[in-house]
C-alpha cells in the first residue's frame, strides 16, 4: 500500500487536454478515469498519472516521437521488409492466467497461437499467488473452525485439540500449485498452442525473440503480439528482503516458518489473507499501514466490519499512518528490526522488534527486458501504457499496431481474472469484433474467514461520481443474521451492501462481507456486466435456503422510483 501513497497525480496540462479532446475514444477514457480514481484494487498504481502520461505532455516528447519514429523506420530497413506472412497469428509473451485465457480464446477463434514463457508455466497466480494462498487459507479456515470451541459447542460438536504439521500444510499448497500448473500446461498443449521456452523480447514490429541465457535466440514473427508478463512483489526501498525473516508473498507461500510474531507491511488483500493464515496457525501479527485506516481500499463500511471481525478479536495489533523506512532481517542474535516514520510528518515514530516481516505493499509490473525501446514505448513506472482496448500506446501517444498488453503489466486492474478478461477482449478485436471490457463489472475477493468481495464502486466513489454527474444514489443493506442458511451454519456475522441509482435502478457497486462472499458476488457482477437493473433482477428466484438469498433480500429492499425498464446503457469503457 505504501506505493499508492508515493505516486503523485500529475496535474492536467493544457496540451494533454487538447489532445484528449481531439480524440473521442480518449475522452471516454477520461470519464472512466473518474470512476477509477480511488479504485480499491489499484493499490499501487495511480490511474490519473498514467492516463495523462499516455499523451505527450510537452513539445520535447513530440520531438522524441519524431526521432524515434525515424529510428524504428531505419530498424525496419535493416531487418529487411516488414513480414508479409507470419509464423503465428498470435504470440503471447507470458503464460500466466492472462496469457492462458487469451490463448484458449484465440484457439477457439481459429488463430495459430504460441505462448512464450521464461519461467514456470502459470505465472504468479498459479505458482506464487491466488492458487497456493487458497490452499493455505483452506487450512486456516478449518483450523479456525476447529479452534472455535464456542462455535462448535453451539453446533453440538466436540472436537479434540486441533494441531497441524507445517510441512504437510506447505506441501498441500505446493501440490495444488503443481496440479493447477499441470492442468494449465496440458490444456494449452491439447489445444495445439506452441509453448516456446525462454524470455520473450520484442525486437521490432510483429517480431519476437525468445531464448534462454547462453543459448541461441530464436526470432519469430506474429501478426499480433500480446504482452502478458505480469508482476512481481513490490518492495519499497530501505527494506532488505532476505527470504527468511523478511519475506514477500513469494516466500510466505512456501510456509517455511510460522513465526511467533510477524509484522505485515500493508493491509490490502495480500496482507489481510496472510494475517488470516498466520493467526490461525498460532502467530501474532502486527500490521503496518501507511494510510490512516486499515484496509484502505475497501468500502469504508465493509472495512469497519472486517476490522471488527478479522482484526480486533484476533491476536493482531496495528500501526496506521506510518511508513516502514527500514527493515533489517534478524541476524547476529537480534530480531527483525522495523523503523517506522509518521506518514505525514516523516518524523521517526517507533521501532518494532519482531520475529519476521512480510512485505505486502503491492506488486510492481514485470516489464524489464521486453524490448519496448525497440518500438518506442515508454513504460510509466514500469507499467506498459495501453488504451481501453489494451492497445499499447507509444511515446507519441499513438497506438502501436498489432501490439497489446494485458494483466498486471498494464496495471489497470491487477487481478488474474481481469487479465484473462482483457486477453479475451483483445482476441475478440483481433477476430474482427470490437470489444471494450467494462472493468467496473470485474469482481474482486479477499479470501479471509469470512470472505470479503466487491464489484463496481465503493460508496465514496459512487457519491463522488453522483455529485459530478448530478444524480442521486441510494444504499441498501442486508445482514447475514437474517439469512436462514447462514444461521444454520452459525455464521450470522456479515453484511451485503448495494449502491444503486434510485432513478433508474442501475447497480453501481455491491460489497459483501460474510460467509462465501467470494462466491456470492457473481450474481451482482453479472448484473453489472449485462446492465441488469435492480427492478428486474429482484424478480429472479433464489433457491431456499441458500446464502444467495442475502442478495435476493438486498435487491428486494432497494427502492427504485421508476419501474420502467430502460434500455441497457452503453457499456462504459476503461
Amino acid at each position: 500500500m505504501q506505493a499508492s501513497v508515493s505516486s503523485l497525480p500529475t496535474p492536467h496540462r493544457p496540451h494533454s487536454i487538447i489532445r484528449s479532446n481531439s480524440n473521442p475514444s480518449f475522452r471516454s477514457c477520461g470519464l472512466r478515469k473518474e470512476a477509477f480514481g480511488f479504485q480499491s484494487l489499484s493499490q499501487f498504481l495511480n490511474r490519473e498519472s498514467r492516463w495523462i502520461r499516455i499523451f505527450p505532455t510537452n513539445p520535447r516528447s513530440r520531438r522524441q516521437f519524431v526521432f524515434s519514429a525515424s529510428a524504428s523506420a531505419s530498424a525496419a530497413d535493416n531487418g529487411s521488409q516488414l513480414p508479409t506472412s507470419f509464423d503465428y497469428d498470435l504470440v503471447i509473451i507470458g503464460a500466466g492466467v492472462g496469457g492462458h485465457g487469451a490463448a484458449l480464446h484465440a484457439v477457439e477463434k481459429g488463430l495459430k497461437t504460441a505462448i512464450v514463457e521464461g519461467d514456470v508455466m502459470g505465472g504468479t497466480c498459479v505458482n506464487r499467488g491466488c492458487v497456493p494462498s487458497k490452499a493455505l487459507l483452506a487450512v486456516s479456515g478449518r483450523m479456525r473452525e476447529l479452534q472455535n470451541e464456542h462455535h462448535l459447542k453451539a453446533l453440538g460438536l466436540q472436537v479434540a485439540a486441533a494441531g497441524y504439521d507445517r510441512q504437510a500444510v506447505a506441501d498441500h499448497a505446493n501440490n495444488l500449485a503443481s496440479k493447477i500448473r499441470g492442468n494449465l500446461t496440458n490444456s494449452l498443449k491439447a489445444l495445439g498452442v506452441d509453448i516456446l521456452t525462454g524470455f520473450g523480447t520484442i525486437v521490432g514490429p510483429q517480431k519476437v525473440k525468445y531464448g534462454k541465457v547462453g543459448l541461441s535466440d530464436n526470432v519469430i514473427t506474429a501478426k499480433d503480439i500480446i504482452i502478458a508478463t505480469g508482476s512481481v512483489p513490490f518492495v519499497p526501498k530501505g527494506i532488505e528482503v532476505d527470504g527468511k525473516t523478511v519475506i514477500t508473498s513469494d516466500h510466505a507461500l512456501k510456509l517455511e516458518i510460522v513465526p511467533d510474531w510477524i509484522a505485515i507491511v500493508g493491509s490490502g488483500y495480500i496482507g489481510l489473507e496472510f494475517s488470516d493464515v498466520y493467526t490461525a496457525l498460532g502467530s501474532e501479527v502486527t500490521f503496518i499501514e501507511a494510510m490512516d485506516q486499515l484496509m484502505p481500499g475497501f468500502d469504508p463500511e465493509i472495512g469497519k466490519l472486517a476490522q471488527r471481525v478479522l482484526i480486533n478479536p484476533r491476536k493482531i495489533d496495528y500501526h496506521t499512518g506510518v511508513f516502514a523506512t527500514k527493515i533489517t532481517p534478524a541476524k547476529d542474535g537480534k530480531p527483525v528490526i522495523i523503523e517506522l516514520i509518521d506518514a505525514k510528518t516523516k518524523e521517526p515514530k517507533d521501532t518494532l522488534e519482531v520475529d519476521a516481516a512480510l512485505i505486502a505493499t503491492g506488486r510492481a509490473p514485470f516489464t524489464k527486458g521486453l524490448g519496448l525501446d525497440n518500438i518506442n514505448v515508454e513504460t510509466q513506472r514500469g507499467f506498459v501504457p495501453v488504451d481501453e482496448r489494451m492497445r499499447v500506446i507509444d511515446a507519441g501517444g499513438n497506438p502501436v499496431p498489432h501490439l497489446y498488453c494485458i494483466g498486471d503489466a498494464n496495471g489497470k486492474l491487477m487481478l488474474a481474472h481481469a487479465a484473462s478478461a482483457q486477453g479475451i477482449s483483445v482476441v475478440e478485436q483481433l477476430t474482427g469484433k470490437d470489444n471494450v471490457l467494462n472493468h467496473l463489472s470485474i469482481p474482486a475477493a479477499c479470501f479471509t474467514h469470512p470472505e470479503i468481495s466487491m464489484v463496481g464502486l465503493t460508496e465514496p466513489q459512487a457519491r463522488e461520481k453522483a455529485e459530478k454527474e448530478g444524480f442521486e444514489i441510494s444504499i441498501a443493506k442486508t445482514s447475514f443474521k437474517a439469512n436462514t442458511k447462514a444461521l444454520a451454519e452459525n455464521e450470522g456475522e456479515g453484511l451485503a451492501k448495494l449502491i444503486y441509482r434510485p432513478d433508474n435502478g442501475e447497480i453501481l457497486g455491491v460489497h459483501i462481507f460474510g460467509m462465501h462472499a467470494a462466491d456470492l458476488i457473481h450474481e451482482a457482477s453479472n448484473a453489472i456486466a449485462l446492465g441488469t437493473r435492480v427492478q428486474d433482477i429482484k424478480f429472479a428466484v433464489h433457491a431456499h435456503p441458500t446464502l444467495s438469498e442475502v442478495l435476493d433480500e438486498l435487491y428486494k429492499s432497494a427502492k427504485v422510483n421508476s419501474d420502467i425498464t430502460k434500455p441497457v446503457s452503453e457499456p462504459v469503457s476503461v
Binding site: 479434540a160 498460532g282 502486527t286 530480531p335 443493506k477 437474517a482
Partner: protein, 452 residues
Amino acid sequence: MPALSSTMTEGKIVSWVKSEGDVLSKGEAVVVVESDKADMDVETFYDGILAAIVVNEGESAPVGAPIGLLAETEDEIAEAKAKAAAQSSSAPATSAPKVEEPAPVAAKVEAPAPAPTVAAGPATPGKVVATPYAKKLAKQHKVDINKLAGTGPFGRITPEDVEKAAGIAPAPKANVAAPVAQAVAAPAASSPKAAASFPEIPGSHVVPFTTMQAAVSKNMLESLSVPTFRVGYPIATDALDALYEKVKPKGVTMTALLAKAAAMALVQHPVVNSTCKDGKSFTYNNSINIAVAVAINGGLITPVLQDADKLDLYLLSQKWKELVEKARAKQLQPQEYNSGTFTLSNLGMFGVDRFDAILPPGQGAIMAVGASKPTVIAGKDGFFSVKNKMLVWSCMDMCKTDASSASIFSAYPDNRYLVNVTADHRIIYGADLAAFLQTFSKIIENPESLTM
C-alpha cells in the same frame, strides 16, 4: 442506548471499541451495538473522555438507558465513575455479563512472579516490547505492561507473562504444531517432566484442559506446597432433619443449613477462617465467606456465600439458588467464586461415606461431608453419616437428581454423618480443628440457633 431502528426497543453491546479513560473526539466510533437488525457502530456526538462503561459487553439495555458516561474533563471522571457504580449495582436483572470463564476452586490473584533474569534483552535498550496479544490481554485485565518483565525471546512480554501477572490460568495454547509423524515418537520430548515414564497406550487420545480444568489443575498442584492434616467427626443429624422438614417449605436448602452452621462455628473459631499467605503470619479474615464446591460441565467451581454468618437461612437459600443458576450459565463474577474463606464439599449424594478434600490455595480449611449412614460406625479416622434427605437436597441443588429415593433409611433412629476437615497445619492445629468440629456438631445437633 440509541435507537438504531424504528422497531428497536433494546440493544445489546457487542463490543466497546474504546476503553474507559480513552479520549474521544466527535464522530468517532465508540461502541458496537446489536439491534434487532444488525450490529452497528455508535459514534459519539461530543468530545470528551470515556469515564465509565455502565453496560458491559454482552449486556443489554433498553433504548434510552445510559450505556456509558462521557466526562468533559479529567476531574469529572471520578464523579462519573461513582455514578456508574451506583447504576450498575442497581442494574436490572436483564444484564447478562459474559466476562471471562469463571476460575474455579477459589482461584486467588497471585502476586506477579519475580522477574526472571533474561539473557537477551530488547535490541533497543530500555524499550518495552510486548506482543500484540500480550497487549490485548494487559488491557483486558488492566495489567500495567510497563511493570512486567518479559520472559519471551529478546526479553519481550508474552501473553503468558500477562496472564501470570493477572493471576489467570493460561488459555490452552491454540495449536501446538505436532507433526503426525512425531506425535507417536516424541511424547517424552514434548513434556519431559510427566510423559517420560508413561508408556504409550495404543488408541488413546489427548483432550486438552478447558480453561476451568486448567485452573483446577493449577490450584491442585499449588495445594501440594501446604502441609495439611485431616480431622474427622461423627455428627447425629436427627434434629437437623427435623428442622429441615420445618423450614423446607419456606425454600431453605440443606446447603444453606450446612453453610450457616459452619459459619456460626467459624465465628467462635476465627483461626479456622484464617489464611496463611506468606508462611510467616496469620491473616484473619473479617468476613466469613463459605465457598461450596459445585461440579459443573466437566469442571469444578466454588460459588461463595458471602457473610454466611450474618445472613439468615432464607436469604442464604435464595442467594445459593442464584449462584448455582449463574454458575450454570457461566455468569459468575470473579468475587462470586474467589472470595471464599472456608470451603464446604459434599459428595454424599453419590453414596460416598467419607472422603478427604484438598485444601484450596488461600484458605485455611475445607470441610468434606459424606453420605448419611443409618448406623454408627466408630473408627479411628471417624466418619459422618448424613441423612439421605439432606443429601438428596444437595443433589437437587447441584445435579438435579431425582428426590424420590429420599427416605430409604429414614426409619433408622440415629442417622449420623461424618464430617472430615482438611486444614493448613501452619496456622490451624489439631486442637483448633477439634474444638471447631465440636462447636459445629453442637450446632447441628441443636439446630434451633440456625433459625435465629
